[in-house]
Symmetry: C2
Subunit: 93 residues, 2 copies
C-alpha cells in the first residue's frame, strides 16, 4: 500500500502477539499437520509448527510504555514462558 495519505487512524492500534512453542519442545499439533500434507499432494515441507496468534486492539496510540505492558501480558497471560516464546509487534491497519 504505497499511497498512505489516507486518514491516519490513530484511535485504534492493533498489537499482535505471536506465541510459539520453544524449538526444543515437541509440537504434536504441528506434527499432525505435517503428516497430513503429503495426502494433499504437498511435498517438500521440512517442518510445521503450530502456535497462537493474539490480536489486541488498543485505544489510542501505542507508546513504549504500553508495549511494555503488552509484553508483560504476553509473558503472564498469553504464554507459558517455560515452554513457549512470544513476539510482540505493532500491526498497521
Amino acid at each position: 500500500m504505497p499511497s498512505s495519505e489516507f486518514v491516519k487512524e490513530h484511535f485504534v492500534a492493533r498489537v499482535v502477539v505471536d506465541v510459539m512453542l520453544k524449538p526444543e519442545i515437541l509440537d504434536p499439533q504441528g506434527k499432525a499437520v505435517h503428516g497430513a500434507l503429503p495426502r494433499l499432494g504437498f511435498d517438500g515441507v521440512r517442518d510445521v509448527r503450530q502456535g497462537k496468534r493474539f490480536e489486541l486492539e488498543l485505544d489510542g496510540d501505542v507508546t513504549e510504555d504500553r508495549l511494555a505492558q503488552v509484553r508483560r501480558v504476553a509473558e503472564t497471560l498469553l504464554s507459558n514462558p517455560v515452554i513457549e516464546d512470544y513476539a510482540v509487534r505493532v500491526e498497521q491497519p
Copy 2:
C-alpha cells in the same frame, strides 16, 4: 536488520499462515483473555481475538507455484473457510 549482506539462506524458507475467526464470529477465547486484562492492571484494550499461527519450513525457494499450494493447504487443512480467514506470507529468517 539493515545489513543483510550475510549468507542468504536459500535452502529453507519459512512461510507463515495466520488463521483468525472471521470478525462476525464470536471468539470466546479472545473474550476470556480480554476479561482477564483488567486484573493485570492493563486497561484501554478494546478487543482481543485469538487465532492460530502455523510456521511451515519449506525446502528450497518459495515460488509462486508453491505459495499457491500453501494457500490450498491453508484453505483445506489449516482453516475452516466457513468461519475463519487465513493469511499467507513469507517470513525472512
